[in-house]
C-alpha cells in the first residue's frame, strides 16, 4: 500500500512542474511590454523602465526567474496582485471558502438526487420513469449553464421573487468570517434571519452548478447498476430468497458505487470550470469570479498564481480519489 501511495505521489511531481512552467510562461507569451502591463504606467523613461525591470527581476535569465518563482511558491509566496497589491495566496484563501461552499452544496445536490434517480431508472429499466430520467439527464448534460442560470433568475427572482439575484448574503447582516462558510458563520453569528438569507442566496447557484454533475451521476449510476444487476452474485442473492431491497440496496448498490465514486471525483474539475460561469452570473465572490475579473483587468500575476493553485487542487483531489479507490478496490494496487 505504501508503495502504491508513493508511486501515485511521485507521478504528480513532473506534472506539477509542467503545470508551473505553463503558468509561468503565460505572462512571458503576452504581446507587449510586461513592465508596462504590470506597473500600469503608460509613459515611462528608459531609466525607470530598467529600474522596474530590475525590481521585478525580469532582467535576469528566464531560467533564473523561473527558479526564483518556484522558490517563492515553495515558501508560500505566490507574488502580489497588480490591482489590489495584496498577496495572491491571501486573496485565494479569503475567496476559496465561497467556492468550496458552493461546490460542496452543488455536489451534494447532485449526489442526493442523481444516485437514487439512477438506481430506480436501472431497476425499472425501459419504464416511463427510466425514459424521463434519462431524457432529463441528457438535457441537463447538454445545458449551457450560463443560460440556465439566467433562466432561473428570470423565473425565481424576477417573476416569483423568491430568491435574491446575486451575492452570498443580504447586506443587512454583517459578521466576521469564522469558517468562511456563510451557512455556518450565519448560524454562529446568532443573528435572526441571517441563515435563511445565506441559504436563499445559495439555492440558485447550487442548482446551476450541480446540473451537469447531476446528469452525469444519474447516467453513470444507471449504467453501473444495470451491469451489476446482471451479475451472477445478484442472481444468487435473489435465488437465496433475499428481499429485493436487500439485493439492490446491499449487494448490488455497493459494487455499483465503485465507478460512481470515480465519476464524482472527476466532477471536481467540471465544478471548478462551472464555478467560473456560475460565479460570474450570480456575482458570487469566489475564485471563479476572481479569475474572470483578473483576466479582464489583465492582472497577470493573479492569473498565473490562480492557474497554479486551481490545477494544484484538482491534482490533489484526483490523487485522493485514486488513493481512496486503491483502498476500496485492492485489485488496482498492483
Amino acid at each position: 500500500m505504501l508503495k502504491f501511495f508513493l508511486g501515485r505521489v511521485l507521478v504528480l511531481v513532473p506534472t506539477f512542474i509542467g503545470v508551473s512552467i505553463i503558468a509561468f510562461s503565460f505572462i512571458r507569451l503576452l504581446p507587449g511590454d510586461p513592465v508596462m502591463l504590470m506597473s500600469g504606467e503608460r509613459v515611462m523613461s528608459p531609466e525607470r523602465h530598467a529600474q522596474i525591470m530590475h525590481e521585478l527581476g525580469m532582467d535576469r535569465p528566464m531560467v533564473m526567474q523561473y527558479l526564483s518563482y518556484i522558490g517563492g511558491i515553495l515558501r508560500g509566496d505566490f507574488g502580489t496582485s497588480v490591482v489590489t497589491k495584496q498577496p495572491i495566496l491571501h486573496q485565494f484563501f479569503t475567496l476559496f471558502p465561497a467556492t468550496l461552499e458552493l461546490s460542496l452544496c452543488a455536489i451534494i445536490f447532485a449526489i442526493v438526487l442523481g444516485i437514487p434517480a439512477g438506481v430506480f431508472a436501472a431497476i425499472k429499466r425501459g419504464s416511463f420513469f427510466d425514459q424521463s430520467v434519462m431524457g432529463a439527464a441528457l438535457v441537463g448534460y447538454s445545458m449551457p449553464i450560463f443560460w440556465w442560470g439566467l433562466l432561473l433568475i428570470i423565473l425565481f427572482s424576477g417573476i416569483l421573487r423568491w430568491t435574491p439575484v446575486s451575492g452570498r448574503i443580504d447586506l443587512l447582516y454583517f459578521f466576521p468570517p469564522v469558517t468562511g462558510f456563510m451557512l455556518i458563520d450565519s448560524l454562529l453569528s446568532g443573528q435572526k434571519g441571517a441563515f435563511a438569507s445565506a441559504a436563499s442566496h445559495l439555492i440558485l447557484p447550487t442548482i446551476v452548478l450541480g446540473t451537469i454533475p447531476l446528469a452525469v451521476i444519474a447516467r453513470q449510476t444507471r449504467s453501473a447498476m444495470l451491469e451489476v444487476l446482471s451479475e451472477d452474485y445478484v442472481r444468487t442473492a435473489r435465488a437465496k430468497g433475499l428481499s429485493p431491497f436487500r439485493v439492490v440496496g446491499i449487494h448490488a448498490l455497493r459494487n455499483a458505487m465503485i465507478p460512481v465514486i470515480t465519476t464524482i471525483g472527476l466532477q471536481v474539475g467540471v465544478m471548478l470550470a462551472g464555478a467560473i460561469l456560475t460565479e460570474s452570473i450570480f456575482s458570487w465572490p469566489g475564485i471563479g469570479k476572481w479569475m474572470v475579473d483578473s483576466v479582464f483587468k489583465r492582472d497577470y500575476p493573479v492569473i498565473q498564481g490562480g492557474l497554479l493553485l486551481i490545477a494544484g487542487i484538482i491534482m490533489l483531489v484526483n490523487l485522493l480519489v485514486d488513493l481512496a479507490y486503491g483502498l476500496v478496490n485492492p485489485r488496482i494496487r498492483h
Binding site: S142, W147, V295, L307
Partner: protein, 304 residues
Amino acid sequence: MTEAATKTVSPLDEMSPRRRQLAEFWFYFSENKGAVIGLWFFVILVILALLAPLIAPHEPYLQYRDAVLVPPVWQEGGRWEYLLGTDAVGRDILSRLLFGARYSLFIGIVVTAIAMAAGVLVGVVAGYFRGWIDTVIMRLMDIILAFPSLLLALTLVAVLGPGLNNAMIAIALVYQPHFVRLTRAAVMSEKTRDYVIASRVAGAGPLRLMFRTILPNCMAPLIVQGTLSFSNAILDAAALGFLGMGAQPPTPEWGTMLAEAREFILRAWWVVTLPGIAILVTVLAINLMGDGLRDALDPKMKRS
C-alpha cells in the same frame, strides 16, 4: 473493417461488404429513437445554416430604430415582420439566430477537426513507438488535463487576445488530449494483433502500419469522441462569448448574443431565452446522435 475484407467481394452476397457494414450500422443506430431524432434535427439545422442568407427575413446586423425590443409575434405588441422579436438595438432575432447557427456549426467543425487531427497524430505516435516518446507525450497531456478546460481556454484567449479564432484555437488545444489518450489506447491494443504482424512481415513501413493498417481499426471510439467534442466546443465557445472573450459583438454568435442580452433579462425575456434555446437544442441533438453512434459503433455495447 479491414482492408482485406473490403477487397474480396463474395459473389454470393447481394450487397458489397461496405454497404452491408453501412446497413448494419444503420440498423443499430436507428434502434435508438433519440439518435434518429437528433440526426434529423441536425440535418435541418445544417440546411437552415447553409440557407441563412436566403431565408433570413432581415440582415443580421441591420438596426431598425423604430423597432427596439419588439416582442415575438404571438405576444401583445409583436409584429409580423419580426417573428421572434428584436433586440435592444432593433435587430431581428430570428435572422441573427439563423446566422448564429453558421457560427456554431463552424466552431464545432473547426475545433473538432483541429483537436482530432492533432490528437490522432500524436496519439498514434505515442501508442506505436512507446518508450520515452510515449512518456513525454503522456506527461504533457496530463499537464493540460490538470487544468479545468474552460479556465485554460479562458486564460489562453486572454493571452492570445479575445476573438472567435483565438477561442477556437484555445478550445481545440484543450480538447486534444482526449483524442491522444483514446488513439494511444486503441493503437496499443491493435498493435499486437495478427493482421498488423502479418502486414509488418509483408514489409510495410512504420508510416503505412500506423496510418493505413492500424488507424482505420481504431476509428469507432474516435468518432464517438468527435461528436462529444463537437457539442462541447459549441458550449464552450458560447461560454467564452458569454464571458466576453469569444466572438465579439456585433457578431450574431449565440453566446455573444446572450452576453449582450444580460441586462434585459427582467424586461425582455425573448432576447435571453431564444439564443439559449438554440444552443441547448443544437447541443442536445448532437449528444443524442453521439449516444446512437456509440451504440452502433462500440462492439462492447452491441446487444447480441
